[in-house]
Symmetry: C2
Subunit: 351 residues, 2 copies
């Protein structure tokens, strides 16, 4: 019987609530599929920062390498720790430290979920986001701090290997899906990084003559995700552009309560990290209002990545068996609490 | 009788069609309001590039300073001139050369226009975009070009004066509108430029205690513009974030056919530039399919800026007198050509 060691990182805010609600559901689906999930809870968070002066132990990334996967709730409590510290020292530190170069986020409407768009054309978008460099490099600085002459610079750094590997992953996905890929840049305004990205797209595309490539500027595809999402399939974008486009993807799929994210290293050898996109939402924390579906969907992405595809599919089916009835948390127009919604799904799986 | 000298820059693609359709409408509204508009057509474009080796004369920006306003169609024909050349050497060169530090873009549904969102809550957003620096600075470069070690860097440069003036303009607008302002950053990931922007927001906010400020990360507000646009009013953002958010604004207001843009220098002394947001759309050029409403709306913003508020209001009223009937170009679900739609509006104004 396969056993998988999972690092459980609830983090901050509603991160704890959604992870605690989702974890027993994953245990149930594991039992049904004859494997076990062995969870280790790690308290790294803004609370941890207050008692230790850092968001995780110095060897945190090393510790994580001992697991098969990382299941994360959310990071950040801006009233306690500035976001640029909490996020850069935990979430981004793990993505970059484990070289999780690909961030994959599926966007489609779950059965029964209305979504904000008037059009009923079904869409199914897979956003592939570069996850370790680009606009999130952290390079830059400030001069004349606080004075009239102050200047801040932020340098986006794109390496050939970094751009190539995420594009290649996107092309592989496109091949397995509809054969269509959208590559996103802003090369009409950013003539160094984004012209480079366009060139890399052409180079990698040469190895995938069967994939149909369309180039979009980020502004144009942002609009298209609202006006004609059904025309898109695999979308490959830089770290920042992927960040923005996947929140748009979340919005059109019914809200951040639904959007799930897989941070993976396609060359293997390190655990992937699976998380809801929503963040810690301090305004609703501790009230049982958080939607656990994004975390459960992220759990399905984790099972899929571990090779347990049948379990992943069962979990998604169970989720949709509930959403189709219209039941859900308040953000879905329902009346269930975080735990109640998760338990309905667990009950279906345990049948 | 006031006379205004207008530089007419049709540019490329549908730019010519929409400007030629809109200009007579503006002449009509001017006649009704006892002022004159004296147009000078300037052929700067990708065609011009092919005969002159540049997008505009070396003293182009100087020439423009002699006008009261610039009315622009669209720039770019990627099959003829790479976008990063055509845009940077004409559109962005004018924005930066005339120090048009503010780009203001109104987003609301015109009467009768359905829009893509299911919710019918009326929204009225004014995006204020920094227009001369930031992510569009053009700084950066590449090493190991074409090789395995290739690296591209793109440096965003934010100056205190640059950030302050656009924020200040936003706060002034907020004061005249609902008293609410959203400041957009990505300070959880970009710790130099965006943390600086947050600090500047706090500094400028101290001078406007009557304005209610909310900070958003760009991904979160992108989603909010889809899920709850009615909760937003004045939105102030950097050059790149403003670019993306205003295409989202265009999408929710019915498409790029509606989105208008005012590039202005709030300190005066130079002409403002008024343009539709849509771009040159080579795929539909020359077919009479282009929607002239964005250009007409930009014309209204120009009249407003010239101090002809009554004329601007009449023009907007005439536009909505037509849209409310459901008549429009194909992108609006109608059957009118570019010229026919413009002439319907002109006929109302000439009554
Ligand atoms: C919290 C933030 C740093 C993060 C990001 O921008 O990557 C989040 O928005 C996401 O999309 O995972
Ligand atoms: C064409 C392009 C350079 C331009 C921009 O990004 O500013 C356009 O998208 C706009 O929004 O005016």
């Amino acid at each position: 019987m396969n056993n998988y060691r999972i690092a459980l990182l609830p983090g901050d805010g509603i991160g704890t609530e959604v992870l605690e609600a989702a974890w027993p559901v994953l245990q149930t689906v594991a039992r049904q599929h004859d494997f076990t999930l062995e969870g280790t809870w790690l308290p790294w968070s803004c609370d941890y920062y207050h008692s230790h002066g850092k968001m995780m132990p110095a060897d945190g990334v090393e510790q994580l390498k001992g697991f098969d996967a990382i299941y994360l709730g959310a990071v950040g409590l801006p009233d306690r720790v500035p976001d640029h510290i909490s996020l850069r020292e935990l979430l981004l530190a793990i993505r970059q430290g484990l070289d999780l170069s690909v961030n994959a986020r599926p966007h489609r409407l779950l059965a029964g979920v209305p979504g904000p768009l008037r059009s009923s054309a079904p869409f199914d978008i897979l956003c592939i986001r570069e996850n370790t460099e680009g606009e999130y490099s952290g390079a830059g600085g400030r001069v004349h701090r606080g004075g009239d002459l102050e200047v801040a610079v932020e340098t986006a750094i794109f390496t050939r290997a970094g751009v190539e590997r995420v594009l290649r992953y996107g092309f592989e996905q496109a091949r397995q899906r509809s054969g269509r890929l959208a590559s996103v840049t802003k090369s009409n305004a950013q003539r160094h990084s984004m012209v480079f990205w366009d060139e890399m797209t052409d180079r990698v595309a040469a190895d995938y003559p069967d994939v149909d490539v369309t180039r979009y500027h980020v502004d144009a595809i942002a609009a298209r995700m609202i006006t004609a999402p059904e025309t898109l399939d695999v979308v490959v974008a830089s770290n920042l552009f992927g960040d923005i486009l996947t929140d748009i993807g979340a919005a059109i799929q019914g809200g951040l309560g639904f959007a799930a994210s897989a941070n993976i290293n396609p060359t293997g050898g390190v655990p992937g990290m699976f998380e809801p996109v929503h963040g810690s939402a301090p305004d609703i924390m501790g009230k049982g209002l958080a939607n656990p579906l994004a975390t459960l969907w992220a759990g399905a992405l984790m099972l899929e990545h571990l090779g347990e595809s049948a379990a992943a599919a069962d979990l998604m089916d169970a989720i949709e068996e509930v959403t189709v009835t219209g039941a859900g948390t308040p953000d879905m127009g329902g009346t269930l609490s975080t735990g109640e919604l998760a338990r309905q799904i667990q009950a279906i799986l345990g049948r």
